[in-house]
């Protein structure tokens, strides 16, 4: 990688602004999820539970219908921004690759992750579309689907984190796309997502999709990870020496 290429960001104001933009969309995604998923949508903390009887879930949905519907719209906006957030990180990785490899793999995982997340919002919205027309167990399946998409996808979201960490570790010291501590944060994030894979075995308790280990830990870790990576992108964009 020539010195000229690595200095491009220093001289190229569009690249700086683009990277900062991607970082800010990460922040926006968090805020939109707090409104849509936490405050209105009943996703975190979860209003549905994995061990709800179907009729119970129908009642919960009907009690929160308007909030869940509006929440779904905020959630889909949030999850669409995973695309820009992920592309920003891939672009930053790309700057330090002579031939792109990890930036490609990151783009693939970012695209898949964004698609999975969008499906979460779709499932949530279908759960609240016509709750009295569908069989109650179909509503339960939409809730299951939403949480399984988000939690059971550890190789995808955890893998994404590993694909950010690896090019940092493989780089020559001083020529890493992100500071070394970012690699360790990404590995820790992947570790925190891992318990989500357990949701297939349990319908109650800490490892169910409403549980503290399999749901709260990965969900919170995920948005904290977005916050940290967004901050890093914005910092790199604004740092004169990048």
């Amino acid at each position: 990688m020539s010195e000229t290429t690595s200095n491009i960001l220093a001289q190229d104001s569009l690249s700086r602004k683009s990277l900062a933009f991607c970082g800010y969309t990460g922040y926006a995604a968090i805020i939109l999820f707090i409104i849509g998923g936490v405050w209105l949508g009943g996703m975190l903390p979860p209003i549905p539970n994995a061990n709800d009887a179907p009729a119970e879930l129908v009642a919960k949905v009907n009690d929160n219908l308007l909030n869940f519907r509006i929440g779904s719209i905020f959630m889909i906006a949030s999850f669409a921004l995973f695309g820009t957030f992920g592309a920003g990180m891939a672009a930053q990785t790309r700057r330090f690759e002579t031939s792109p490899v990890f930036s490609y793999t990151q783009l693939v995982f970012a695209a898949a992750g964004t698609t999975i997340a969008l499906l979460v919002a779709f499932a949530w919205s279908l759960m609240v579309f016509r709750p009295d027309t569908y069989e109650p167990s179909i509503l339960l399946m939409w809730a299951d689907f939403a949480y399984f998409l988000a939690l059971f996808s550890v190789p995808l979201f955890g893998g994404w984190c590993v694909l950010i960490a690896l090019p940092i570790f493989f780089s020559e010291p001083g020529r890493e796309p992100f500071p070394r501590w970012v690699a360790y944060v990404n590995l820790w994030a992947a570790l925190l997502f891992a318990p989500g894979q357990m949701v297939i075995f349990f319908k109650d308790g800490p490892f169910s999709w409403h549980g503290i280990v399999a749901m709260y830990l990965p969900f919170i870790a995920f948005f904290v990870w977005i916050a940290i990576m967004s901050w890093v992108m914005i910092k790199i964009a604004h740092d004169e020496n990048s």
């Binding site: 501590w181 590995l187 570790l191 357990m198 075995f201 349990f202 830990l217």
Partner: protein, 189 residues
């Protein structure tokens, strides 16, 4: 010999690996607390479930990981000495201990499942299977890291390579430590 240039004491590895280890320990602390709460609230269930665990498997696994850690420590030390010897054998032995641990684990889980004991049987076995599985993933990742260390140990000595080896070794020691805690909580208490 590189010893003379290393007389100043320093913390091995790099800061990032220690931050990661701390984070991992925090997560496992949550797991240990959950086991402790379960033990408190369902003492009878836990103690009768505990008695069905085979202490021989547990002890064998503890010895395997401790020995593996020993080998890794020797390997890192020998690299530091830089006396031209082939140090890869130590990392190969450590990898072997990790692989045998995993095979042992599979046999042990299989034995339990054949006896009708699954993660859904009761809370003890829920924690037992889930946490030993999460630990087993750590062992697997550790074995992968050891295979990188195995290759790195033949590289020419540089302080960066030494730190890299130490960082990998620190992760392996963490894996060892986590197992000792799980062994105590599941098999002994």
């Amino acid at each position: 010999m590189r010893e003379k240039s290393q007389t100043q004491s320093r913390i091995p590895g790099e800061p990032g690996i220690w931050a990661f280890v701390t984070g991992d320990l925090l997560v496992f602390s949550l797991f240990f607390i959950l086991i402790a709460i379960g033990n408190q609230e369902q003492g009878g269930v836990f103690s009768s479930a505990r008695s069905t665990l085979d202490l021989r498997f547990g002890l064998a696994n503890t010895l395997l990981l401790l020995t593996g850690s020993f080998f890794v420590a020797i390997g890192v030390e020998r690299f530091r000495l830089d006396d031209g010897r082939d140090n890869r054998i130590w990392f190969r032995l450590a990898i072997l201990s990790g692989v045998i641990f995993l095979i042992n684990k599979v046999f042990e889980w299989n034995a339990k499942v054949s006896d009708g004991l699954t993660p859904m049987t009761n809370d003890f076995f829920m924690y037992y299977f889930v946490f030993t599985a999460i630990h087993a993933i750590h062992v697997f990742v550790g074995v992968v890291i050891l295979s990188f260390l195995h290759k790195k140990s033949q590289a020419p000595f540089t302080p960066e390579t030494q730190r890299g080896l130490e960082s990998g070794a620190i992760f392996w020691h963490l894996v060892d430590l986590l197992w000792i805690m799980l062994f105590a909580l599941f098999y002994l208490v």
